[in-house]
Symmetry: C2
Subunit: 244 residues, 2 copies
């Protein structure tokens, strides 16, 4: 009997249906055959971010090539709430961490924003995409967050769709408490977290003058940027999102 | 004029008073003189975890020795809420991360718990203490979380003070939603997060049978252990703790 695996992979194919055979790319075939050492016929879960989740059987076509036959639909598609995370890229490990954790916490899109004190302006969105796919596979999400191309804070604010409320973490402590503001935190919404050095005085003034932007505070201690990003998403999901 | 620094350090001295001179240990003197290159007279904040926060002046006594003269009390002491984090140690980076982030999020004590599927049984509590002090310094906490010595889950439960409610993350999804349970989450309380592999069936049965333990769920996605630890602390602080 071929082993049943707990493996769950994302396939970038628009339409998935029972009976269909999906050719795997080189990397995924390598992962399943050489890293995970799966046998022909092994059971795998797949999702494509729009059709739900399916059970598949692995078909090994050669040493390095494989495909999947879709056997059964196991979950209907369900999207995460419409909540974006805008954040100023941090040092490598911390950015990796934010991408992984925000995906687990059900963010719908990740938006790198370049602020005055942003240290890292080399934003590797391809790397972020790969990381968010991996986190989506492991967290059993049915979709993958969208990763936007970086923009300056000024551009972001000037192009902002005013239907989406923006909550920014005001580390000066001048914002309302998170919980107090939750009744206003209806979808679509976005959280904006500044860089390690915080927003500049000018940026804070601009943000405070935006009618769609609301300052919030995350308590009496100074949180690092990556902690604030994760905390705000977790709190929102618990109070208003899909953890209810 | 000597530079004013933004440096804030913890000193392990029971009583701090204006006018007092505090001798610095070798490591802290090295940090201030050689790493931060502070000059004689530089301004520093200190806290000892019980007396509040003080402004001090650096006194350089030699190439490698220094002391601090306490100039003024700047903050009265305030403790964090009485909330413990019990968690099964993870791989090194993830454990480091939990210690740092839970300190920022105002945990009062960190308690390593060895469960059936805990990978790492080498718990370096000395390392954790140093990490939590650093995070307390940076997050501007006035105290430092207590780090307990590791115990097995069985021992923890058998010695448990029943006045402290225990909320454990039930990754089978059988727990109540976090927000639903918050009205019961009064201090003193503790959150318990299992290891990467989850609790064993036996452990879940034992926990469910404990009258002081309550199963909670953190939504429809599978969170990694470190994400669950941080999310539970952040949500509690936002809803019931000192972020209000």
């Amino acid at each position: 009997m071929p082993k049943t695996s707990n493996i769950r992979i994302f396939v970038d194919i628009k339409d998935l249906k029972t009976g269909q055979v999906v050719e795997l790319g080189k990397e995924q075939a390598h992962y399943l055959l050489s890293v995970m050492r799966l046998e022909d016929g092994a059971k795998i879960s797949v999702f494509n971010g729009i059709s739900g989740e399916f059970d598949c059987r692995l078909i090994i076509n050669g040493k390095k090539t494989a495909s999947l036959q879709i056997v059964d639909k196991t979950k209907d598609f369900k999207t995460v709430p419409d909540i974006w995370l805008l954040f100023a890229p941090l040092k490598k490990d911390n950015t990796d961490f934010v991408v992984e954790k925000s995906t687990e916490l059900g963010v719908s899109a990740i938006f790198p924003v370049i602020t005055e004190y942003t240290i890292s302006d080399k934003v590797k969105t391809q790397r972020w995409k790969a990381q968010s796919i991996e986190a989506a596979e492991q967290s059993r999400r049915l979709d993958v967050p969208e990763i936007f191309e970086p923009l300056s804070l000024k551009e972001v604010l000037s192009k902002w769709d005013k239907k989406r409320k923006l909550f920014f973490m005001d580390e000066t402590g001048a914002g309302s408490s998170f919980f107090q503001k939750t009744n206003q935190m209806t979808e679509p919404l976005a959280f904006l977290i500044g860089p390690e050095g915080g927003f500049s005085v000018q940026e804070l003034e601009t943000l405070r003058a935006c009618p769609f932007a609301h300052a919030i505070s995350l308590g009496p201690r100074i949180l690092r940027a990556e902690t604030a990003a994760i905390a705000s998403l977790a709190c929102w999901q618990a109070i208003k999102g899909d953890w209810q």
